[in-house]
């Protein structure tokens, strides 16, 4: 039985300040709704009211969009409110993940190089899925609004480790 309070730094505040380094900026990205939908891709998109889902290295645009996680799964960001469970008519399973994933934004000319320290991402190598591992941590990575702006989602319990890793790389 140990008290490891000192070993594990207390989590940062949710309204934490951006981390700014040379040619890179890291900020926490509050999102009002995240919904996981599993089922036939077209049915998932229709239910989420999205025309398409972004994989890698697509650029998601706007405040409401969908990210493709795998052949039969998308994450709808800021999409419509949907009831959790099985949607019989469309054959889609729905779960709210608004609090389940935390997201941050990494932007700047150096952002891609920072990501490439921990994952094998290449703009020239597209992938239908935005799922990646960053320094062994499971994450969702996609571009948002701009060529050099990346949004990274992770399970909320792993936000602190993702943030710490990225922050150290940003200020390097």
């Amino acid at each position: 039985m140990r008290n490891d309070n000192a070993k594990w730094a207390a989590p940062l505040e949710q309204n934490r300040a951006d981390v700014v380094g040379k040619n890179a900026r890291l900020s926490l990205q509050p999102l009002s709704r995240q919904t996981m939908l599993s089922g036939p891709a077209a049915q998932c998109l229709a239910l989420a009211d999205q025309p398409s889902a972004s994989g890698w290295p697509d650029i998601a645009r706007g405040e409401s969009y969908a990210i493709r996680l795998r052949r039969d799964r998308i994450l709808a960001v800021n999409g419509p409110a949907l009831t959790d469970g099985w949607h019989e008519r469309s054959g889609v399973a729905v779960s709210d993940m608004t609090g389940g994933y935390a997201a941050c934004t990494l932007s700047g000319p150096r952002a891609l190089d920072i990501l490439k320290t921990g994952t094998a991402l290449e703009l020239a190598l597209p992938s239908g899925s935005a799922m990646q591992r960053f320094h062994r941590q499971e994450v969702i990575i996609y571009r948002w609004q701009a060529e050099d702006t990346f949004r990274i989602h992770t399970q909320r319990g792993q936000l602190e480790s993702l943030w710490g890793l990225l922050a150290a790389l940003v200020v390097k």
Binding site: M1, G85, V94, G118, Q158, A168, L169
Partner: protein
């Protein structure tokens, strides 16, 4: 040894001061430590591993196993630096490892006098009695290489980077440069890596012009062409390993004291142009300082302008000896050529050479350059699983059937002529090779010790001993004699060792075999592999949404199953007892957010769960909860948890906290195998639903204060059911399940509402004597009730009927995972270990967890089981324990002997449920 004017790639305008073993020296920018020492006439640079024999360099680059230094510069210390690959920097202080006080006068050199008593394997034979550990410290102190500091180096951090390319060319010699240029100019993305500062490989030492240009000009032109075509050239970069799917680890060296960088390159095509090195010649006293590889001596001359001797004997069996002799003569040396295939030869001298003899002829010399033929560097080929084939004409293994996307060219492919190599690299027709070789093998009758492995002091006699003791397999030979171990990893010793074993057995080298090469190709600091994953980031724990609240309430946070959770609240571990008593008398409030909330959704969800679980889940009604086991295919219990049915097509699995990721993976695997994957889906929503558990006789009162809009009356909200309510406008899923044995409610809410719920529960509980409690108190409560923790109270063989859950095994008709294994002979054994409770005699201390229960028969003890959980129960006022014991269920009331660390005590077998066996508190 001297510098030769006009030769070398060093910058003679930039002198650099350094010291070796305390003596000051001067070299030039571009020197390695080895070349600078040779230029200063310092030949002895180290001591061998076992006998502490004086050693000079054998090779001029990574093929030198002998000169290994501890180096300090500007307060930075780095152990085990190869002198031949460490570039000189101003102010370096180098010391030979494994030498006391220095390499020239090592007092441990006396050990060599006793060499006949220390053959291969003598450790294993000599220090068996009374105990190896009595000798271990002394031997480790005597042997070994550099000293590692206990303090982590501040700022010594390796950068890591991922990249891809069409073509990765490893090796920047003639073949590599030509191949890289062809690839780059064809429009493919190219990375060209070489471990030297200057590209060119063996071009400089070969002398003469390259396609009408000096080597320097030719190399410059090729590099310019590669970069002009968009290629990336990476000097000082070594390919240390080839891994699955053409992943190559490139380690880029930086200035001394700065951690190397790791580049993980995924290449469509790998061109291995790693060159070849000289195979040593096995002859008497062949480890003496001043016996150097032919190509090593030429490298020292061509790159650093160092002539390694004045009176040189070249002992070679191949056609490269004659041009080498001409180059050395031109540089000012007197050179005599000797045919290595005509042996036996003997070197004469101690710390300095004075002659080599063959029969009665004694040839004075101060240096012997040896070559038993060129050996292609096929290590990376083998890393990737490539095969090798034996080429008798060059007496070497060369790449044969290769991994997809990998190609060997140049000397690495056994192509040693420059023009042939260039044609091969460019995909042109190959001219005829001029390289010839006369086979050699060690003379088993020759007098004197003949070295096979310079670094580890393995001699021909050691190989003979291994053969006599039947360690004839190459892999056994390596491990018995330590041949090819340490930093050399067989680069110089592998072929010599194979040749020796082949000769001893009267076989050919290919019949004898070859060892498996593994990454890394050269020694690299552990730091290279670590990168950013350090400290908290090496294996980061999952963090709770409520952690700030928990810390504010005085929680001592600790790791439990991959999550950082509160162990207790307050000033120390003594609070655990207080929390357990509080839970039984009033109520305890836990953060149970880590419990699984895995949703199984779809029209096949019920059938799927019925298959996944040991217990029948198909009959579970919406609104109800059922306890169940997940089994492995072997029938062992993998997880226990509860399943809540949310609706016709939706279930939520609340598995053990530490098993969430594993359970999700198992569910996905089974979903995609044997099920229609469009009719059942798995969503891990665990992090979306923080959970606050309120347990104890006053739990209901606390919940009533929370205004959850649920009828909490016992008859309206029964044990093992769930209800959906509201808390501050948000959904609140409330489950009536218990891990303490008392009335319990688990309230799961969205993340945004969790803090308010926690604070409200604490506020409502405080006037009732309730408060926060940690995992340790919960562990006591559950053990009092006999609730088990999988992995603690079970082992890898525990089946559900060992835990008292037999009905599905007997009556469930539907298929389920592990079913067949529950009906095997092993599953039906009467002596299976079964979960029971244990009571110590009145006044006795708690039994040690892990203590064995023993039976004594004819004076011999035999373990019949062990204690899995043990606590002092504050509720009951005496110790309690759970244990797995052979035939435990049939032993109720039996007195057993407990054995732990040499001490004996007594315990009585009881039911594992010590608290509220009737369940009145649970259902209240």
């Amino acid at each position: 040894m001297k510098r030769v004017e006009g030769l070398g790639l060093i910058d003679r305008r930039t002198p650099l001061n350094f010291s070796f073993d305390g003596k000051p020296y001067q070299g030039f920018a571009g020197d390695t430590l080895a070349s600078a020492l040779l230029a200063n006439g310092q030949r002895i640079m180290g001591r061998s591993f076992k006998y502490h024999r004086p050693r000079s360099v054998w090779g001029a680059w990574f093929d030198d196993p002998n000169a290994i230094f501890d180096i300090e510069l500007n307060g930075f210390h780095e152990p085990n630096c190869p002198a031949a690959t460490t570039y000189l920097e101003e102010g370096m202080q180098a010391r030979a490892v494994n030498a006391t006080p220095n390499a020239h006068s090592d007092i441990k050199g006396l050990l060599d006098k006793f060499n006949r008593f220390m053959p291969a394997g003598f450790y294993y034979k000599t220090f068996m009695w009374p105990n190896w550990h009595l000798f271990e410290g002394f031997i480790r102190n005597m042997a070994g290489l550099g000293r590692v500091e206990n303090v982590a180096k501040s700022g010594y951090i390796s950068e890591q980077h991922h990249a891809t390319c069409d073509v990765l060319v490893i090796g920047g010699g003639a073949a590599g440069l030509a191949a890289a240029r062809v690839a780059a100019e064809s429009g493919r993305s190219v990375i060209l890596a070489d471990d030297h500062r200057e590209f060119g490989g063996g071009l400089f030492r070969q002398g003469g012009l390259v396609e009408g240009q000096t080597p320097v000009d030719w190399v410059t032109e090729q590099l310019s062409a590669v970069t002009a075509a968009g290629g990336l050239v990476m000097p000082l970069t070594t390919a240390i390993g080839v891994y699955d799917h053409n992943l190559v680890g490139l380690v880029e060296a930086h200035a001394f004291g700065q951690a190397p960088s790791l580049h993980r390159i995924r290449a469509e095509q790998i061109i291995m142009a790693t060159g070849a090195i000289d195979r040593p010649v096995t002859f008497a006293n062949n480890d003496r300082p001043g016996i150097i590889a032919v190509d090593g001596a030429l490298e020292f001359l061509a790159r650093y302008g160092v002539l390694v001797g004045k009176n040189i004997a070249i002992l070679s069996n191949n056609s490269l000896a004659t041009p080498a002799a001409e180059i050395l003569r031109t540089a000012g040396a007197k050179v005599r050529l000797l045919d290595a295939s005509t042996g036996p030869f003997t070197a004469h001298g101690g710390k300095s050479l004075n002659a080599i003899s063959q029969g009665t002829e004694r040839i004075p010399c101060d240096t012997i350059l040896a070559s038993g033929g060129l050996v292609p560097l096929v290590h990376l080929w083998r890393h990737a699983g490539g095969k090798l084939s034996w080429r008798a004409d060059i007496a070497a293994f060369v790449p044969a059937k290769g991994p997809v996307g990998m190609q060997a060219i140049g000397a690495a492919n056994g192509t040693f002529d420059l023009d042939v190599s260039l044609s091969e690299a460019r995909g042109e027709n190959l001219p005829k090779s001029t390289y010839t070789l006369r086979p050699i093998q060690p003379d088993l009758t020759a007098k004197g010790r003949q070295w096979i492995d310079f670094q580890h002091d393995v001699t021909l006699k050691d190989i003979e001993l291994a053969a006599r003791e039947n360690y004839t397999s190459v892999e056994h030979l390596k491990r018995y004699t330590t041949l090819g171990m340490a930093s050399d990893q067989g680069k110089t010793s592998n072929m010599a060792g194979l040749a020796a074993m082949a000769t001893l057995q009267g076989k050919s080298i290919p019949e004898t075999g070859t060892t498996t090469f593994r990454p890394p190709f050269v020694p690299v600091p552990f730091e290279v592999y670590r990168g950013a994953r350090r400290g908290q980031y090496f294996n980061p724990l999952k963090r709770l949404v409520l952690e700030p609240e928990l810390r504010a309430a005085g929680a001592a946070m600790a790791e439990y199953g991959g999550s950082l959770r509160p162990a207790w609240f307050g000033s120390g571990p003594h609070e655990i007892t207080r929390e357990a008593i509080m839970a039984r008398r009033a109520a305890a409030i836990f953060d149970a957010s880590t419990l699984g909330k895995i949703e199984v959704i779809g029209p096949d969800a019920a059938a799927f769960l019925n298959f996944i679980y040991y217990n029948t889940m198909a009959t579970l009604k919406p609104g109800f909860i059922r306890y169940g086991f997940m089994l492995t295919e072997r029938g062992a219990v993998y997880d226990d948890g509860v399943v809540a049915r949310m609706g016709e097509n939706r279930f939520i699995i609340s598995c053990s906290s530490s098993h969430v990721d594993g359970v999700v993976a198992r569910l996905e695997a089974w979903r995609q195998d044997g099920n229609n994957p469009d009719r059942v889906f798995i969503h891990d929503t665990t992090p979306n639903w923080p959970t606050v558990t309120v347990t104890g006789p006053k739990a209901r009162e606390i919940l009533e204060s929370l205004d959850l809009q649920i009828d909490l009356a016992p008859e309206a909200f029964k044990h093992m059911t769930w209800r959906e309510g509201r808390f501050e406008g948000a959904v609140a899923r409330v489950s009536r399940v218990s891990f303490s044995g008392d009335t319990s409610f688990e309230i799961s809410v969205p993340v945004a509402t969790a803090t308010a719920l926690w604070q409200a529960a604490l506020a409502a509980g405080k006037p009732l004597g309730a408060g926060p409690a940690g995992v340790e108190a919960l562990s006591i409560l559950r053990a009092e009730k006999g609730y088990l923790i999988i992995g603690k109270d079970t082992d890898g063989d525990t089946m559900p009927h060992d835990l008292g859950f037999s009905i599905p095994r007997q009556k469930k008709t539907a298929d389920f995972v592990g079913d067949r294994s529950l009906h095997t002979e092993n599953a039906n054994r009467a002596d299976r270990k079964q979960l029971v409770g244990l009571m110590a005699p009145p006044g006795a201390a708690a039994l040690p967890t892990g203590a064995h229960l023993v039976e004594v028969t004819l004076g011999k003890r035999r373990s019949i089981g062990y204690v899995t959980s043990s606590y002092h129960s504050p509720t009951l006022g005496h110790p309690i324990a759970l244990a797995l014991i052979e035939g435990g269920a049939a032993r109720m009331g039996e007195d057993l002997t407990v054995w732990h660390m040499g001490k004996q005590s007594a315990a009585q077998v009881t039911s594992p449920c010590f608290y509220d066996p009737e369940g009145a508190a649970l259902h209240a």
